[in-house]
Every structure is written in C-alpha cells, then in structure tokens.
Symmetry: C3
Subunit: 125 residues, 3 copies
Amino acid sequence: MSREVIYTENAPRSPVYSQAIKAAGLVFVAGQGPFHPVTGEICGETIQEQTRQCLSNVSSILSAAGSSMSKVVSATFILAEESDFAGMNEEWSNWFPVTTPARQGANHSEGNEGFNRSNRRSLTR
Amino acid sequence: MSREVIYTENAPRSPVYSQAIKAAGLVFVAGQGPFHPVTGEICGETIQEQTRQCLSNVSSILSAAGSSMSKVVSATFILAEESDFAGMNEEWSNWFPVTTPARQGANHSEGNEGFNRSNRRSLTR
Amino acid sequence: MSREVIYTENAPRSPVYSQAIKAAGLVFVAGQGPFHPVTGEICGETIQEQTRQCLSNVSSILSAAGSSMSKVVSATFILAEESDFAGMNEEWSNWFPVTTPARQGANHSEGNEGFNRSNRRSLTR
C-alpha cells in the first residue's frame, strides 16, 4: 500500500523524523513541541500558550496532509508538569469544539529543557 | 471516511476526550485509569485491583464499539511505580488468555495523584 | 477483519505480549528494549549500541510480518536519560536512510533497571 510523506513549511521540521506519514487511511503525525515553525524558538510561557503552539503545529501538518483537526481520532499529550493539566485542557478544548479525540496522556520531560512540555501525537483520518 | 464517536455509561467520561473513536477499521480507545464509571473514584488499592479496573473500563468501551478484548491489537500501559510491573502483568494476563496484544510501556505519573497509575490505551479491530 | 499474530525467534519474546499484531493494513510492533533475542541480556553500553539492538529487534519482527524498516510510518522512543537524545538520533538515522517515520518521544524509565532505555514502538504497513 501507499505511504506518503507529508511536509509543510508551516510546522517545525527535523532531519530525524517526518512531520507526518499518511498510510492505511490514517495520518500519523509526529509529536509536536511548542516551537515556532521558522525560528524554532519556544512560543509562549503559559501552558495555554504552549499548548496552542503545539496544536497549531499539528493543525498545519494535518492541513498539508489534506486532513484537519476535526478529523483527529486519537492524540497523546506529554506534560512536563502535572500542575499544567487543567491549563492544557482549557486550551485543548478550543481546538476540538465539536467532538474530542480519544486521548492518552503522560507527565514527563524529554529532549529539550526549559518549557512546559505539551508534546502531542495525533492520528487522523 | 467515517469517524464514529463511541460512548458508554459503563466507563468514565470526560468533556475533554472521547472514550473511543472508530475509524479506518480500528477502535482508538482513550487511556483509562482505575476509576469507577459512576463515582469516578479510584477502585482498589493493589496494582492488580487497579489494573483490573483500567482493563474493565477498556473492555466496556470496546463492547460499546462492537469490539472486544480478544481483538485488541496494541496497548500501552503507564505505571507510576516500576515495582508494580509484575503485579500488573499478573492481572494483564487474565484479560488476554488466548493471544496477547502488542504492548508498549512506560513508568511515570500523570494528572491525578495518589494511585498506582496503570493507564492504558488500546487499539482494536 | 483478520488479526494476525507475528512471531519470530529473532527477537525477544514474552508471555505477556505479542511481538506484533498485523491488522487493518498495519503492523503494530511491541516496544523493544536493547535485549538479545536469545540470551535476553542487554546488548551494548552506549546509547548508540543499545539503540541499534532495539531497532534490530524491530527490524526482525517487521521481517517476520512481511514488512521492513523502509515502511515504518510512526515510531515512539522512550529514553531513560535525556542526555542520550543526540546519540540515539545518530543511530536512528542509520536505520532510516531514505524517509524517516513520524516520531513521538519521551524520557523516562520502565520495568527493567540498569540500561539506557530506548524502547520503541513502530507502526508499519
């Protein structure tokens, strides 16, 4: 079956992973941090702002794949601080006003230091 | 393609995520904690009891989706305490007597405090 | 729909999970640690060596499923030490010379102690 690599300038990119791969009727989106697509800098200081940047990146990648946030079926969040849970949910809800995806979550840090982690992986169709 | 939201009163529910979404021939189930479907309270004190409640919730959601535990293809566990690994496996095996799903695991906490985390995500078909 | 259990002697096995399940046009591979398929011992001391063993196990499982590393669509890594991130990426790139899969990552430990965790889950088609 086909396996389509997705690329957009409107989301962060990396030599070690693809932004998304389309396969089997799904779009597998790479985990997104709160990074600016061009500068690579962390966007925002509050968990709400950082969540917004994460999901904005996911949204841009989905658009490039011909999908959208309204079609997300499952998403994973990773938080650096458990105390950010309520703030993340507050912003999360703004991105899924009609039906929310299934969700899995975790609380821990990874890779880059110094920001409220709100890494996410999305599966859409 | 179709994207079906699954809902059952027999598992915990939340405004910020769906219990499951059915799409692309799969059921994407939200991570389940050891919570009682009605009271929302943590069920059990041992990792075996809490694992049972997590998987009971997953099972209820799968039933509502027209699937079942015997069709799970992949599942993720999250443990708050590494020392609970053996106890979790003990109960886990009871739920998958014939063929076990592929599994991924992690050890860390999230969101709620005070219980042995045994969050799980399941993919079934 | 069909649900095929994958088994190979060329990767670690466990009574509590399947090495992989094939379903819905995808192969769901269990998380792999840096374990030798036969002895079960940790292979290597550096993150590069341990990453190699993890991905070698994934590769063996994919082969048994009639797939291959060149078809991986999404993968999750789990690191015990954030400082191993660069070293893991170094080895990671060797396994995906053409197109890299979408990727999600985390930094924490699980189950077994004493090795640089580089657990991975892969979805291929």
